[in-house]
């Protein structure tokens, strides 16, 4: 245990295999919760400009504008903890078998479960890009977007302009598909790591995990696909 530790019990948790996995699971719950919220919010696009822009306005003014920062800091913290813990666990896992089998075999581990670290890194790269794209708004025509008729920030037009290019859409689709793969193993793993999976409910947990992963995937991909196919388009110039 490190000497600089501020809270011995938290450090003890961080320094054991199961403890660190519990942290991965708990931060995983927060991140899945965020994804569900984010995906449902995105679907407001289909209710039109008014619905989406007023929802965005609401998010930015929750608790006098402090709410969004509490959420952002919380999600960032969960994300960083999840990332650091899983990278450390993966490094330890590789070290636990210095010499691989000459003839390796897999009996029942799913493909998703075996690429978790790579799907995770892709999500990390995507999140950085995605934040630069839509939160920092490095794309000039997004940064200088005129406000909507009510004088609010025009999220609706931002999404449509942002997804009008094929490269952005393709990267988005790849990242969200890997996210779905990550969740299809990750959600069920939360239950196992927190000790809630039993022989009896194992099948149900796997089904719930995969279904939820698929629903999140569907809710995310439907947005850029609708934009690029022209199903949803910019409001008539006002």
């Amino acid at each position: 245990m490190k000497k600089s530790c501020c809270c011995p019990s938290v450090c003890a948790l961080w320094n054991t295999s199961i403890g660190k996995k519990i942290i991965v699971a708990v931060t995983g719950i927060l991140l899945v919760g965020f994804l569900i919220g984010h995906a449902s919010g995105n679907l407001l696009l289909f209710l039109g400009q008014e619905a989406l822009n007023s929802y965005a306005e609401f998010l930015h003014h929750m608790v006098h504008g402090v709410g969004i920062w509490i959420a952002r800091v919380g999600i960032l913290l969960a994300f960083v903890l999840h990332l650091v813990a899983t990278v450390q666990l993966t490094v330890a896992n590789r070290a636990a078998r210095p010499l691989e089998y000459e003839k390796p075999a897999t009996v029942q581990a799913s493909r998703s479960s075996r690429i978790m670290i790579w799907s995770g890194f892709t999500i990390l790269a995507f999140v950085i890009y995605h934040l630069l794209h839509y939160t920092v708004k490095i794309q000039a025509n997004l940064a200088n977007l005129p406000p909507d008729a009510e004088g609010r920030f025009d999220v609706y037009s931002m999404v449509i302009i942002g997804f009008s290019s094929w490269p952005a859409t393709i990267f988005y689709l790849i990242a969200v598909s890997l996210l779905c793969s990550h969740l299809s193993h990750g959600i069920a793993s939360i239950f196992q790591t927190l000790g809630l999976r039993t022989k009896r409910n194992a099948g149900l947990i796997q089904m719930v995990g995969r279904t939820l992963a698929f629903l999140i995937w569907a809710a995310f991909v439907v947005v850029p696909l609708s934009v690029i196919s022209g199903l949803v388009h910019l409001p008539a110039a006002s």
Binding site: S9, A12, L13, T16, S17, I18, G19, K20, K21, I22, L89, A92, N93, A95, A96, R97, P98, L99, E100, Y101, E102, K103, P104, A105, T106, V107, Q108, A109, S110, S113, R114, M116, H185, A188, S189, F191, Q192, T193, L194, G195, L196, R197, T198, K199, A202
Partner: protein, 253 residues
């Protein structure tokens, strides 16, 4: 009686700190009712006749109860059949002309001693760290004076079926020992006799497991698939739960 002609690719290593290599052996005329270990005995006889060093491998009971035999056969600990140990695996499960890869159980915590023999004393040290109950001996209590629910007794018994062979570690992508540790902990944690030392047991065994250099479980259940005693990965879930409770208890008291 049918016989098989096989090609074996066997890991040979002269000592713990020597470099190993795969060597190829021709195993012809193997009776199909031989067990896998008997097949190796036949191959070894031939090696000895030719003045070579026989292939070293672990074995003891040869009836699937002691956990001494090991071997990763075509990448799968105890071979392809499922729910059997290597000593119970029969050659009729293979086909004439097959090439069979035979490697030791691979894990940092299971160093190779020679050829296919690995040092599994890390498991003993995990047991010493809490996989026991402390009782006063000498005055046996009346039989059946501790009521135990049938479900608990059954669950405990199915955990106690673990023979400590280490196949779970060998199969795990991360060389994790969670299935073994969870079975050994659950076996006692499920019974009234295991309650007094439960917290200490769980924390101690997990700590020792980490110290031995086993990997971390990533919930892929390869262990469960190869376990010759079909120990359920549900016990790993139970160990995670028991660990969280034990850690909380230790922090609060």
């Amino acid at each position: 009686m049918a016989t098989l002609n096989l090609t074996l690719k066997i890991w040979r290593q002269d000592g713990p700190h020597k470099a190993g290599r795969i060597e190829t052996y021709d195993a012809h005329g193997i009776p199909d009712d031989a067990s896998f270990l008997e097949m190796l005995d036949i191959v070894n006889e031939r090696i000895i006749e030719q003045g070579g060093e026989p292939v070293h491998f672990d074995h003891d009971c040869r009836e699937g109860i002691c956990g001494a035999c090991s071997l990763t056969i075509n990448g799968i600990p105890h071979g392809p059949e499922g729910a059997v140990t290597t000593c119970q695996l029969h050659m009729r499960k293979f086909n004439d002309g097959d090439t069979i890869w035979v490697e030791p159980f691979r894990a940092k915590a299971f160093p190779v001693l020679r050829d296919l023999v690995v040092d599994r004393t890390a498991f003993d040290r995990i047991i010493q760290a809490g996989g026991f109950i402390s009782v006063r001996t000498g005055s046996a209590q009346d039989a059946n004076n501790l009521p135990i629910a049938k479900d608990d007794a059954d669950a405990s018994f199915s955990a106690a079926a673990c023979i400590g062979c280490g196949a779970c570690v060998a199969a795990c992508k991360n060389a994790s020992a969670m299935l073994f540790v969870s079975a050994k902990a659950a076996h006692l944690n499920l019974l009234p006799q295991g309650q007094p030392e439960k917290t200490r047991r769980v924390l101690g065994m997990v700590q020792q497991m980490d110290a031995e250099g086993f990997g971390n479980c990533t919930n892929q259940y390869e262990c469960e698939a190869v376990c010759p005693k079909e120990i359920s990965a549900g016990f790993i879930s139970k160990l995670n739960r028991d660990y969280a409770l034990a850690a909380a208890k230790e922090t609060l008291t």
